[in-house]
């Protein structure tokens, strides 16, 4: 340990222990490569609007969600951290998604897909 012990962390919070051992730099690089590939895929899909038709938008949304979750779970350590951090963040995220999708719904927005 460092020669300057810091005295204020309790007996190993479960999250902190996990953070140290759960993901190595190699994992991070792999995740980044995966994200880059997904981004490339997204750009590809975006040029196939005519071929994919109504699936085009939803394919993009699914790819986006995968990227989003990956960054949260790995880069932001949510996968390894205390459950409370996950709950707080995904709770806020769900409130946002539900409320704003609901709002757009009252404008009959979803009837026509992403206009």
């Amino acid at each position: 340990m460092s020669d300057q012990p810091i005295a204020n962390y309790e007996h190993a919070g479960e999250g902190d222990i996990a953070l140290e051992h759960a993901a190595s730099d190699k994992t991070y690089v792999l995740v980044a490569v995966f994200l880059a590939v997904m981004t490339g895929l997204e750009v590809l899909v975006s040029y196939t609007r005519d071929q994919l038709g109504p699936f085009h938008d939803w394919a993009l949304i699914i790819l986006m969600a995968i990227k989003f979750i990956c960054v949260c779970l790995y880069f932001m350590h949510l996968k390894f951290d205390h459950a409370m951090t996950r709950r707080v963040f995904f709770f806020g995220l769900s409130v946002a998604v539900v409320v704003y999708c609901g709002m757009l719904g009252t404008f009959h927005y979803w009837a026509s897909g992403f206009r």
Binding site: S2, E10, E14, A32, E42, M64, V99
Partner: protein, 209 residues
């Protein structure tokens, strides 16, 4: 909720002052918990701007539409840059936890440079769009587009400033291993800015009509 309850019950035997030190009922430090709570709240802020943009998409009465001004190859590049800055940020956090201060500074600088390149790209993009006739007040698309991406840009800029402050702290020897969590908490902010961009890139740039 069970694990949280457990967390409180198995609460420090060793620390007599749980209220004052960063010891906590959950084992997560106050700073990290506070940052997560803030980020949860920020979802709603960006959500409002994104949904306003979506609602107004295709309603512009005059002037350029997204199809006229959006340059997907260019923005894909800057998206890639921001994505890579997330990787360098997480490597910085990892170096900080290992106590490798030299690498920490290296990755902090890299992250800041990547972030700054993203902002430079955004400035270039905005300038080009203005030249193509899309001002902030031109139409409803201009207002909602610039406000949304501008808000994101402000977040990135604040992130760069925070990175530079951390770099300064590290140079003065004030980010030792013991304080690695400062890097981690700022890192959370940086990654959040990145995930917001993941959403913006898809719904604004790729799903435009």
């Amino acid at each position: 909720m069970s694990d949280v309850v457990l967390g409180a019950e198995s609460h420090e035997v060793h620390d007599p002052y749980p209220g004052l030190s960063s010891n906590s009922s959950t084992g997560v430090s106050h700073a990290k918990m506070g940052m997560w709570i803030f980020l949860a709240s920020d979802c709603l802020l960006f959500g409002a701007f994104i949904s306003a943009y979506l609602l107004y998409n295709g309603r512009a009465q005059q002037g350029p539409t997204p199809g006229d001004v959006i340059n997907i190859p260019f923005t894909s590049t800057s998206t890639f840059v921001l994505l890579m800055s997330s990787l360098t940020m997480v490597l910085a956090v990892s170096s900080a936890h290992r106590g490798d201060e030299r690498r920490l500074r290296l990755w902090l600088v890299t992250t800041a440079i990547l972030g700054a390149s993203f902002i430079a790209g955004q400035v270039y993009e905005f300038t080009t769009m203005v030249q193509e006739g899309l001002g902030y007040t031109t139409n409803i698309f201009g207002s909602s587009f610039y406000s949304l991406t501008g808000f994101h840009g402000v977040h990135v800029t604040i992130g760069i400033i925070l990175l530079l402050i951390m770099l300064g702290m590290s140079l003065r020897g004030r980010l030792p291993k013991a304080k690695a969590e400062v890097v981690e908490v700022i890192g959370l902010y940086w990654h959040f800015v990145d995930v917001v961009w993941i959403v913006i890139f898809t719904v604004v740039y790729l799903i435009h009509k």
